[in-house]
């Protein structure tokens, strides 16, 4: 099992407390994702963006949340046997959790390096698989936490603060 943490410098001191604490969100959305379901992939992230828009979140943070979520959603669709998204909304942030049914990543550090990809031909033909998914998530979130067990599952969570 391997674990990876990333926090934008301004949020470094908040990461453990924020991720581990269990305050009750204002509301929660749940989504299911199917293996290689490229017809529906992206719908969950679009709904998350709509929810944030309805909450009055500034477009800068909407965009960051939508991109981070979309990349993670595509990763589940392209690489896993299926998975789930839970989006938790708080007054100052959104906390989005992605978990899938494997096969997981052997080496997270390698997977996050720009340009690294294990995508197959079908996925590449659709314009994915450039190895920029995880780097793009890092760029668009404030806190990222990944736990992966090779052969079993990947758990990924992001937090985006609204300012």
């Amino acid at each position: 099992m391997s674990e990876f943490w990333y926090a934008q410098p301004a949020y470094e001191n908040r990461r453990l407390g924020q991720v581990n604490s269990t305050p009750i969100p204002d509301f929660v959305q749940n989504f299911k994702l199917g293996e290689k379901d490229f017809i529906n992939a992206g719908k969950a992230s679009a709904q998350i963006k709509i929810a944030l828009k309805q909450l009055g979140v500034d477009h800068v943070y909407l965009r960051r949340a939508a991109i981070a979520s979309y990349e993670a959603e595509i990763n589940i669709t392209a690489h896993s046997r299926g998975g789930r998204i839970t989006s938790k909304y708080f007054p100052d942030r959104v906390h989005i959790v992605f978990d899938d049914d494997g096969p997981g990543m052997g080496d997270i550090e390698k997977s996050i390096s720009p340009g690294y990809s294990t995508a197959d031909e079908q996925v590449r033909e659709m314009g994915f698989g450039a190895g920029m998914g995880l780097p793009n998530i890092i760029k668009n979130c404030d806190i990222l936490h990944i736990i992966s067990e090779e052969g079993v599952k990947t758990f990924l969570e992001v937090i985006i603060y609204f300012g």
């Binding site: 992939a41 595509i74 659709m126 314009g127």
Partner: protein
């Protein structure tokens, strides 16, 4: 630059008519890689691409697109055109390559989007 001017310059077809042809397009970006498109478009932009799968339309739910120009003579299937209609997202198809299309629009004054 207006949408209708782009259609003329690229000798292109609008894939459905119910769009605002007078719409002002301020910048453009071209790529066949979805992550690059997400990473490089920080403002509303026209997208030039050779990708014709449903995810190219889904992208417009995440980022602001003025419309999509399909290059190299590509025309997406009907269900993708329907997805764009629902979103009122103009679709244009040109036989020109990505390089040539970009060059024509750039030389005519359409700037690159901020990245």
């Amino acid at each position: 630059m207006k949408l209708k001017e782009i259609v003329e310059l690229l000798e292109a077809d609008l894939l459905f008519e119910d769009v605002d042809k007078e719409k002002e397009i301020t910048c453009a970006f071209g790529s066949d890689l979805i992550s690059d498109i997400l990473m490089c478009t920080k403002e509303s932009t026209l997208l030039l691409t050779g990708l014709t799968n449903p995810q190219i339309i889904r992208l417009s739910d995440m980022i602001d697109l003025f419309g999509i120009v399909f290059v190299r003579g590509k025309v997406p299937p009907k269900e993708i055109i329907d997805m764009a209609k629902e979103r009122k997202l103009p679709l244009i198809s040109t036989k020109f390559t990505l390089y040539r299309s970009s060059g024509i629009l750039f030389n005519s004054g359409l700037r690159s989007c901020k990245i």
